[in-house]
């Protein structure tokens, strides 16, 4: 199987008439404000290096203006980089010819947008098959595939409606179906669920996670919501003022925030949903414990298992059922409470 990981290397984006001229200045430490005040150019992205693993969800997180939407648009080159590379299967997306780029966008990527960006004059099904239509795939075949994915996202029976007849959540399901129908290896999701109500957002996250279990796409997911990032992201990169300030798994970020900015972010997080039992377990089997908790479980689930059983400690078991360590109720609860230093 081809490697579907994406490597972003040394990516800079400086908005303005003559961005290239100021790359060196930025490399030498010129700040965003200084660049804007002195030269009237806006620093969008600064030395981005991210390896986005294949078949995983890479979350890019940051507040508005941090450059996250700019970054995702470099992966399918909706925005031209000032300097830098985006490598996919050995090829630099930033150097592709116009027609190669079009083929890359048609077959390798699909995108879901914050504001849905559906074609308002087309029905749900013709929206869903839009990507296939652009590829030149015949109507009957395209329709069948679109119907399949509309069903998967729960839009059975809405095929002939217009987007304006649907609620926001349903419109974004159409957006998701349109992207999935394209059958591309890379799924780019630009704040895809940010415009939705909290309950519907959780629904959509669940749908995405369920689909990902069988599809194994390389997903790049942009969000400003840390809870969403922690729930979805296999890996998370945090962006601030156009630069990556920390990347790693959700647990790594919550346990070891790189600076005050990030610890500020993570202090409100429900740690029980992020930290895994493996992180806090003590080595050695506890002979008196009768409860077994699978390795990789979240603390929240472990705590529930422990309290349900009435036991004070439990063993952590791997896939084969062999014990690899133990936890106690006390250590679990301690780890779930935000430490005072944060």
């Amino acid at each position: 199987m081809a490697d579907n990981s994406i490597d972003v290397r040394g990516l800079y984006k400086i908005f303005g008439a003559n961005g290239k001229k100021y790359v060196e200045a930025v490399q030498n430490g010129m700040s965003k404000d200084e660049l804007n005040a002195k030269h009237g150019h806006v620093l969008g992205l600064k030395d981005i290096n991210i390896h986005m693993p294949q078949a995983k969800i890479q979350v890019i997180m940051g507040l508005s203006g941090s450059g996250k939407s700019t970054l995702i648009r470099h992966i399918n080159r909706l925005i031209e980089p000032t300097v830098g590379e985006v490598i996919y299967q050995g090829e630099d997306v930033c150097k592709m010819s116009e027609s190669d780029l079009r083929e890359f966008r048609r077959h390798k990527t699909a995108m879901v947008f914050q504001k849905f960006a559906l074609l308002p004059h087309r029905t749900v099904i013709t929206n869903a098959l839009y990507g296939l239509e652009l590829q030149g795939i015949g109507n009957a075949d395209a329709e069948e595939r679109a119907r399949h994915w509309l069903k998967r996202v729960g839009l059975d029976g809405y095929e002939d409606r217009y987007p304006n007849e649907l609620s926001g959540g349903m419109q974004q399901r159409v957006g998701l179906a349109r992207a999935l129908t394209n059958d591309a290896d890379i799924l780019l999701m630009d704040e895809a669920f940010s415009a939705l109500d909290p309950l519907i957002r959780t629904d959509m996250q669940t749908i995405l996670l369920e689909l990902q279990e069988e599809l194994h796409k390389t997903i790049v997911f942009i969000t400003h919501d840390l809870d969403e990032a922690l729930r979805l992201g296999d890996r998370i990169a945090i962006l601030r003022d156009g630069a990556v300030i920390q990347q790693g798994t959700g647990q790594e970020i919550v346990l070891n925030p790189a600076d005050a900015y990030i610890s500020d972010f993570v202090k409100e997080v429900n740690r029980g949903r992020v930290i895994r039992v493996d992180t806090i377990m003590e080595s050695g089997t506890n002979g008196s414990a009768s409860v077994a908790i699978p390795s990789g479980s979240r603390l929240e689930d472990a705590a529930k298992l422990l309290s349900d059983s009435g036991e004070a400690s439990a063993n952590i078991v791997d896939g084969e059922g062999a014990s690899i360590g133990s936890i106690s109720m006390k250590s679990t609860i301690e780890a779930m409470v935000t430490p005072a230093k944060h």
Binding site: N76, R102, P120, Y162
Partner: protein, 304 residues
């Protein structure tokens, strides 16, 4: 300093320092002469160029005049229904046609309908591609916009002169005069419509790998259509407004009757033909507006 010694100050201030009479005469003469040379050289060629247009117009005129009136009323009623989907408008149209015909203006009305149809078609065929071109680049827009401004504001009699010199009196020069006046709205609104298309939707088309042509036909044109149609509506209205001017250079129809009425001070004739033009205008306007509204149907049902 000669100026100040020869003339008094009051003379300098009251008399505009204009070009000398001989220079001015030579200047105008030069322009006239060179255009006459151009006419002699190219007149025939240009006439040949417009020959197919003449044939289409004549053929269409003959067709609508030769069609039996009851059939014509049925056809027009059906067209109105196809465009507007309302029976009220169909009834109104049929009544209008019957009244105008009863008052002795059937054939003139058919000539005018033919002229308006052909000139509108011509305006659309030229205007929409021009509008698309204009929407593609700001530079093209900057060049075409002032030209359109001139076409809409210059008194139509002014461009009748070169047209007459080149092509003489006849249907084609009339058609061209109508189109010069009537084409700007469809060009402007095509350009505007395409430029107003939601950037997010365009970005989505890009992200899915649409080529510029695919983007034009799957996103830009469909979403610009309501605006383009508003432009077509305006073009039709302006073409109707030019009917009398077209009659001046030999296009027959309701316009030439109005002209006759002006020349002879026939009040009733003028009013009747004038009102017939108004009636056609109202029918065209209502039908095209209803049609334009139907094009936007997808945006009507908004979810709360």
């Amino acid at each position: 300093m000669g100026v100040f010694t020869d003339k008094s100050l009051t003379e300098i201030l009251t008399e505009f320092p204009e070009m000398s009479r001989t220079d001015l005469r030579d200047f105008k003469k030069g322009i006239d002469e060179s255009f006459k040379v151009f006419t002699r050289e190219w007149g025939v060629g240009i006439e040949d160029f417009f020959e197919p247009l003449l044939r289409v117009l004549v053929w269409f005129e003959k067709l609508v005049v030769a069609t039996p009136w009851p059939l014509m009323i049925v056809i027009l009623g059906a067209l109105v229904y196809a465009g507007a989907r309302t029976w009220g408008l169909v009834v109104g149209t049929v009544l209008t046609l019957l009244v105008v015909g009863y008052l002795g203006m059937w054939e003139d009305m058919m000539f005018t309908l033919a002229l308006i149809s052909v000139s509108t078609a011509l305006c659309i065929i030229i205007g929409i591609p021009l509008g698309i071109l204009m929407s593609k680049s700001d530079r093209t827009q900057a060049v075409i916009t002032p030209v359109l401004d001139i076409m809409q504001t210059i008194p139509s009699f002014v461009y009748l002169i070169p047209i007459l010199m080149l092509l003489g009196i006849g249907k084609v020069p009339g058609l061209i005069a109508v189109c010069i006046y009537a084409i700007p709205p469809v060009v402007r609104l095509t350009n505007l419509g395409i430029r107003l298309v939601d950037k997010d939707v365009l970005e989505a088309a890009d992200a899915f790998g649409a080529s510029p042509r695919q983007k034009l036909w799957t996103v830009q044109m469909p979403l610009a259509l309501p605006n383009i149609f508003a432009g077509v509506n305006q073009t039709i209205m302006m073409a109707l407004a030019m009917v009398v001017v077209a009659a001046l250079i030999g296009v027959n129809g309701l316009g030439s009757e109005v002209l006759k009425a002006v020349n002879n001070q026939y009040l009733a004739l003028g009013l009747m033909n004038g009102l017939a033009i108004v009636a056609i205008a109202i029918v065209f306007d209502r039908v095209s507006q209803k049609f334009g509204k139907r094009l936007q149907k997808h945006s009507e049902v908004i979810h709360g």
